[in-house]
């Protein structure tokens, strides 16, 4: 049986998720034996216009000129996976979204702002451009989760994303709770799957993987304010990786 053909694409991103893949060591070799990587611009020259079994897309959709490329990928691929928070939710790129774009351009490019090649719109998840079958959040992705999702797909299983809070993973490791250390942590509403890596390193969770479904955002704000954070900072704290989620779905009190 032919090995499934997979390809990696990237749009508006830092390419950190791709770099993580090069750190897989033995798991990368196992992966290479299980699939055929036919396109991966960052490490390969080869390209193809063949149909694909799985297309992995990193980065946000933030320019109209990228739309034809995305549509082409969707057309060629049986399964499209948006990996990394930028592709899954817009990620940190979305921090600029609440300022009208022109204002950004003026701040940044000054008098040169009107040059056409500097045109962008809001940073959006790939799903805003084309249908995405699965998303793997994380900034960067968690290697084990990526391998698990690919492994599940190869075995015909439906991959799943944890829908519980980072607190579970933190408590299982018996980490000192950041709130106990008078810091503000988004763990109670952040989506788990990272092993609570930041609190395990004594830094509060910033919800880089987005939130669980239906978080109690209003209560979280109150918890943050009770921990000493000014309300306006509490409101912006969660925007760091989740600006799109907040602006579109939830309105904090």
């Amino acid at each position: 049986m032919d090995k499934p053909k997979v390809a990696f694409f990237d749009f508006t991103s830092c390419e950190g998720c791709q770099v993580e893949i090069t750190n897989f060591d033995q798991q990368l070799l196992n992966l290479l034996e299980a699939v055929d990587i036919v396109e991966f611009r960052e490490i390969m020259k080869e390209t193809t216009s063949d149909p694909l079994d799985i297309a992995f897309i990193e980065g946000s959709f933030s320019r109209d000129q990228d739309l034809p490329g995305l549509k082409n990928i969707r057309q060629r691929a049986k399964i499209v996976i948006a990996y990394g928070s930028c592709a899954a939710t817009g990620g940190i790129n979305a921090l600029k979204n609440h300022k009208p774009d022109y204002q950004y351009k003026m701040e940044v490019y000054g008098a040169d702002a009107s040059m056409p090649h500097l045109e962008t719109h809001k940073a959006l998840p790939i799903s805003a451009a084309v249908k995405v079958d699965y998303s793997i959040p994380g900034c960067p992705i968690n290697r084990d989760e990526f391998v698990r999702v690919v492994s599940d797909l190869l075995h015909g299983k439906e991959p799943y994303l944890p829908n519980y809070a980072v607190c579970i993973e933190c408590k299982k490791k018996e980490n000192l709770c950041r709130f106990d250390n008078r810091e503000v942590c988004l763990g109670p509403i952040a989506r788990a799957g990272c092993g609570a890596i930041c609190p395990s390193n004594n830094v509060p969770c910033e919800a880089c993987r987005g939130f669980v479904d239906t978080p109690n955002y209003a209560s979280m704000i109150e918890v943050m304010v009770n921990s000493g954070l000014k309300k306006e900072y509490a409101l912006t704290k969660a925007r760091m990786f989740s600006a799109n989620i907040l602006d579109n779905n939830l309105s904090p009190k």
């Binding site: 829908n163 579970i168 669980v212």
Partner: protein
């Protein structure tokens, strides 16, 4: 009545533990980043015997947070399954009364007459428990209300019981294994004065509880007030659905199972891991989620521990350790919720014509 009761100087106790380390893995309370946890002991001197409480109960060494159930190997014709067979012997040192009750509650869950969980039983049979009577009461403790502390009043299900008497411990043995381990030490017998002291310490401690819960008719009251406004209000205004409560609760037993299959499909590890009824999809079955609201899930936590557990297992699920309310980011207190239901018991009020 204990089978045997002796006195052991604290220095001698430490040396004895060092000797026991040759045959058992020692597990006890140590300090970690400003609070206490039960941990595998390398240096006996790391033990902190006068700890107040730990984040996770010692259940994590018998019912592990993540544990392999079996490995499945693919063969030419079919499969072979290899279960976990050997676990090292372990001694749990310094288990407080509440946590001891928690382990006995879990025994009722996993070691039924009809079915004994393989992994749980393997570890439980290879575990010796050295219980320790408390010397402190925390603001969140209410074990005395639940009949689970502050001193151990059981006579089986564990091996040793220590009571801190200053320079020494009163050490009582409650099992044959314990008796055999104490024999070679030739310890002096404990006399009546020591038992009097123990009783005195017990009474003193009982008077220091700030938190109480009246458990009279509690089961019925809770079951008859499923629509009480306290559930909705707490779930909406405070509960984050973070599952901290169920993670730190020493009697929670829900778990999920996942398969880790190798790429080449030759080998699969079947693993079980702690799950939580507070998770959104926990009560999702084919076609529906019968606890899709946070209110339903929060209510489930409280009513299971304080009511339906009794129907299931003949005892309360809550052993009064207070961990859930301490680690909850909004400090939701299940005793307060129960009291609110008791105070404005709507069914009773309806029957009496008041509501």
């Amino acid at each position: 009545m204990p089978k045997d009761a002796f006195v052991i100087e604290k220095n001698q106790f430490s040396s004895w533990l060092k000797k026991l380390q040759e045959s058992f893995q020692l597990i006890g309370p140590v300090e970690k980043e400003g609070h206490f946890v039960f941990s595998l002991i390398e240096e006996v001197n790391d033990l902190v015997m006068d700890y107040d409480t730990t984040m996770l109960g010692p259940r994590k060494f018998i019912f592990l947070p993540e544990e392999k159930i079996c490995t499945i190997y693919q063969k030419d014709q079919g499969f072979t399954i290899k279960k976990v067979q050997d676990v090292p012997g372990q001694l749990l040192i310094g288990v407080h009364s509440c946590d001891l009750h928690a382990i006995l509650v879990l025994d009722k869950v996993f070691l039924l007459k009809s079915f004994q969980d393989h992994n749980y039983r393997l570890r439980r049979e290879n575990t010796l428990i050295m219980a320790l009577n408390c010397t402190k009461v925390c603001p969140t403790c209410f074990c005395s209300s639940m009949g689970t502390g502050p001193f151990v009043e059981l006579d089986k299900g564990f091996d040793f019981l220590l009571t801190d008497c200053g320079e020494s411990y009163l050490i009582e043995s409650f099992s044959e294994k314990a008796k055999d381990l104490l024999l070679p030490l030739n310890l002096p017998q404990a006399d009546d004065s020591l038992f009097k002291k123990k009783e005195q310490l017990f009474q003193e401690l009982k008077g220091r509880f700030i938190k109480n819960l009246d458990t009279t008719n509690l089961v019925q009251t809770l079951l008859e007030n499923q629509d009480h406004p306290v559930w909705q209000r707490t779930a909406e205004e405070r509960c984050l659905g973070c599952t901290n409560c169920t993670m730190v609760c020493p009697t929670c037993f829900c778990f999920n199972v996942k398969d880790k299959i190798s790429f080449d499909l030759k080998e699969c590890d079947r693993v079980r891991y702690w799950d939580s009824c507070q998770e959104l999809h926990f009560a999702e079955v084919h076609g529906a989620n019968y606890r899709s609201s946070r209110k339903a899930r929060l209510r489930q936590f409280v009513t299971h521990k304080l009511a339906t557990w009794v129907e299931q297992f003949g005892c309360f699920g809550c052993i009064g350790c207070g961990r859930c309310m301490y680690w909850c980011p909004t400090h939701i207190d299940l005793t307060e919720m129960a009291k609110e239901v008791q105070k404005s018991n709507f069914k009773r009020m309806r029957e009496d014509g008041y509501a």
